[in-house]
């Protein structure tokens, strides 16, 4: 037993602390990234971009954001839709006020604006926890959507009540609007989300991530060993909202192209992203991707199977789909709170022992 552990130990701490210390994991990630960056762009079309890859990647970014707050720091939030709206409206206002501003900067600034809004709505977390905090963030959700709907300034006084993303280029390539090429949109979002995921992974394995998890697991002990709850919780709200805001920015700017506050950023969005991290795995960056993939892909697969395959009515198929989602969420909440990510890990552990389980 001891020697097995000793055998796994790396000859220096740097390699033990590498992002993927196990060689097989490293290979797996490199292959997935290779396919995503090199092969997919050649084959991707409008349907695959708009129906599958963009929603998957953008929701994955939002799920990472919520997971940092809820999965890592233990602070429940039902305000995700509202914070995505802040990101989207920031993007709209920035890009219409400063058309020359590089779209990458616009997305980052939208994230930063959302971060500051998130901090404000995170202040109650210093006093309240759990259910009460959830209700407070729910209030944020409704307030934000109401605000964007109420004041014409946010919509540039558009009488239709919608915001529209104007066409924008980066480095001479059209990136937004209906005329932008699908592979360009896909690659842009892919690069953005990959870098953000990497940064998130770095944060959670360092000092800040440990202080979040300490607050999550036992806030009093964390405080007594010198972690400041105020600092830990508010940075969690800030970083989380930064991610969710960027997701909202991409959601509106690249994927939808046009949005109406109540429809695009309603409470359903908040729940959808929450379901993603519950199913994918609380406290896991990989889980955020798995959850987003599952929730964006499942309806499509189910529809193909039930409507096109079995010939059920669309409405019936939708009901079955929602029921299944509910059952799955209950299953994960009760049986496996660490979601698909944990199941994946268990599978890997089994694989490591195979074919000689003891």
């Amino acid at each position: 037993m001891f020697y097995r552990e000793a055998g796994q130990f790396k000859d220096n701490y740097a390699s033990d602390q590498a992002l993927f210390p196990i060689a097989q994991d490293r290979w797996f990630v490199m292959i997935v990234m290779g396919i995503a960056f090199v092969i997919v762009p050649f084959y991707i079309d409008d349907y695959w971009t708009n129906a599958i890859m963009l929603p998957f990647l953008i929701y994955a970014l939002a799920a990472i954001g919520l997971n940092l707050l809820t999965g890592y720091c233990g602070q429940v939030s039902l305000g995700t839709g509202g914070f995505m709206a802040v990101g989207a409206f920031s993007t709209f206002k920035l890009t219409t006020a400063f058309p020359e501003l590089n779209f990458i900067i616009v997305v980052l600034l939208s994230g930063a604006i959302t971060a500051s809004v998130g901090v404000v709505f995170g202040i109650p977390s210093l006093r309240i926890k759990g259910f009460y905090l959830a209700v407070a963030t729910l209030a944020a959700q409704f307030f934000l959507v109401w605000m964007f709907n109420k004041f014409g300034w946010f919509l540039n006084y558009n009488p239709t009540g919608q915001i529209h993303m104007p066409p924008r280029e980066i480095f001479g390539v059209l990136i937004t609007g209906p005329r932008a090429a699908p592979e360009v949109k896909y690659l842009f979002v892919l690069i953005f989300v990959s870098l953000c995921a990497l940064a998130a992974k770095n944060i959670v394995r360092g000092r800040v991530g440990r202080s979040w998890m300490a607050i999550r697991d036992m806030d009093i002990a964390a405080e007594l060993i010198g972690i400041r709850p105020l600092e830990a919780k508010l940075t969690a709200f800030a970083v989380s909202s930064f991610y969710v805001g960027m997701a909202g920015s991409l959601y509106f700017g690249i994927w939808l192209g046009a949005a109406e506050p109540i429809e695009a950023f309603g409470i359903e969005q908040s729940f959808l992203v929450l379901f993603m991290i519950i199913i994918g795995g609380l406290g896991s960056i990989l889980g955020s991707f798995l959850g987003a993939a599952f929730i964006t892909l499942m309806p499509i697969l189910m529809k193909n199977f039930m409507v096109d395959g079995l010939g059920l009515a669309v409405v019936t198929a939708k009901h079955i789909e929602i029921t299944m989602l509910g059952v799955l969420i209950l299953f994960f909440l009760i049986v496996e709170p660490h979601g698909f990510a944990r199941l994946w890990q268990i599978a890997k552990e089994k694989l490591r022992l195979w074919p000689f389980p003891h």
């Binding site: 552990e5 944060i203 360092g206 000092r207 972690i227």
Partner: protein
Amino acid sequence: MDVQRKFGDPILEVNDISLSFGGVTALENVSFDVLEGEVRAIIGPNGAGKSSMLNVINGFYHPQQGMITYKGETRKQMRPHHAASRGIARTFQNIALFKGMSTLDNIMTGRNTKMKKNLFWQALHVGPAKQEELEHREYVEHVIDFLEIQAIRKTPVGRLPYGMQKRVELGRALAAEPELLLLDEPMAGMNLEEKEDMCRFVLDVNDQFGTTIALIEHDMGVVMDISDRVVVLDYGKKIADGTPDEVRSNQDVIEAYLGVVQDDELAASQNN
């Protein structure tokens, strides 16, 4: 034994501390000091106010009355963050580890107040942030070696047996390189072998790192063996203070113990 010659000046003095919760008085005019480099035990029956005393020292409870002097600085009350960053670390009576984190990460949290690189550098995880993480990892590995817990480095602490959890908790406190280490019943609930290990660690910490230790312990044999001086609390009041020998023969202490917990060991040690 001349205590003053073996040890340095007081690192901590609590003066006339009173603490109550609503109508319940937990501490009443308690004063004592802890000298640099000594092992100071706090004993007393259940509910005597021992844990409350440690909570006052590291700023979790704020006494209604009294003064605390730590490293020459006198305050009415400590603040947890201030205490931690000034070199006070502790373990808890009921294990307070971070259940979802590995042994390594738990112990790394002990170095939190010493790590300074900001969020931006951490997100990039290059250069200074990576360097900082490595330096602290190296220190934590010394602690892991010292406590002989190499084999459970990557195990989530929730899966560890009780005795091991206590050891990891000690590791988290040691990782902070404390000058004053507060241990709240570090051996409670352990079997004999685990107790012996823990005693050895406590003495080694005191010896090798020169760390001052204030510990609460119920096992009289242990207290008499490892502590230099003992404070006895009963119903929130200090009833005795001195070397183990002095305390053992104190009439009030015998009564408090025989009256409340019927501590056989104390009685036995009386007969020696």
